[in-house]
Symmetry: C2
Subunit: 218 residues, 2 copies
């Protein structure tokens, strides 16, 4: 990884986070990075490939942390299910911790960049999401199912879908919705917001399971 490539990747994160994928321009990225406009196509092939590279470069490590932390907890318990709240924490925390970093160094933008761009309905992101998140999705689906033996399987699928949607929605919209409040919510203790969100998701899922599968009783 050359110095130029790193400068491009860093500039790309900011540009994608600020403007989305379609809104980001090669010229802005290269200008911000202080490199020639042709560098992106020379080093990465295309705008799409640049994004793909950034995506993998940043999220593959995060997903490995999630998978290995979950595996640790599972081995610690010798097959007994990991409690739901802990599963959710392992899924959510690695991403949110990056966003809620301390005031003295600004949060990395790539989480924002990726959450934003994933909202754009390009076919690229459907493929990329599969490449990067499929394994995490299936592993955590199994873990949640194990943690909730009384829930039926399609219901767990639905709950996981709620949880992931909420997570991406949070990353994308928190700061904007925050403005409705008139007062900053993000200034609160970072651990507190994270804990609240984990409680929110955990309670949401277990509340649904307690209410039972709706398709039988209605």
């Amino acid at each position: 990884m050359t110095e130029t490539q790193i400068k491009i990747l860093e500039a790309a994160e900011v540009e994608f986070a600020d403007n989305g994928f379609n809104g980001a321009s090669i010229r802005n990225i290269t200008q911000r990075a202080g490199v020639n406009i042709a560098s992106i196509n020379y080093h990465f092939g295309s705008k799409e490939s640049l994004f793909r590279e950034m995506f993998h470069f940043r999220f593959d490590p995060i997903n490995e942390i999630r998978l290995s932390r979950l595996r640790e907890e599972q081995e610690l318990r010798n097959g007994a299910p990991v409690p739901l709240e802990l599963v959710i924490r392992i899924l959510v925390a690695p991403v949110f911790e990056l966003l809620l970093s301390e005031a003295d160094h600004p949060p990395p933008r790539f989480v924002l960049a990726i959450a934003r761009c994933l909202s754009e309905p390009l076919e690229l992101f459907t493929r990329l999401g599969g490449e990067v998140f499929q394994e995490v999705y299936e592993t955590f689906f199994a873990a949640i199912r194990d943690a909730l033996p009384q829930a039926d399987v399609p219901q767990v699928r639905l709950q996981l879908n709620f949880a992931i949607s909420s997570m991406v929605g949070m990353l994308t919209h928190f700061s904007r919705i925050e403005q409705f409040a008139g007062e900053p919510l993000f200034r609160r203790q970072k651990d507190e917001i994270l804990q609240q969100f984990i409680t929110f998701i955990t309670s949401g899922i277990s509340g649904c399971v307690a209410a039972g599968p709706q398709h039988e009783e209605r």
Copy 2:
């Protein structure tokens, strides 16, 4: 509202839903609507104004339904708080019912269009969101606070933020995350998904409140 304007609005919904705001092009919209390319600037002024028009045209009625339903329930109770789950239902249902319409007529695309475009970090959408949703935000914030007298105020703000983020995230990402599952989740009874999501949000909020404000005990 002339016939041309309506044709443009309908075509715009599809185009914005499929491609996002930046990805949508005036030429595609006018071609789809079967009108001249200059019509949009003649009738609406600009691409931004067209979107603004569509936004208000579609969401103002939805928000009025939300506000009037909530007011009904409040008057029915003579000042006693409306239960949390009902507040959430009134907030969520008017939007989701539109998405989960029956198979014989396809769901209106504008909900998707707006959810998608709101994810794009253009300053336009910050302003538009304020114009359209501020009143709903404050009214439902007050209703949730009334329903949860034991919760402290900043915590309720946070919970509402979670709820709204989850809602927009659901609209934007459900179909894509659904693909991870390998089986369609949206085919389930529409009432069931809606009910599950309402339960999810309601349980999430009340679970957080039961756990108490985190900033005091840590």
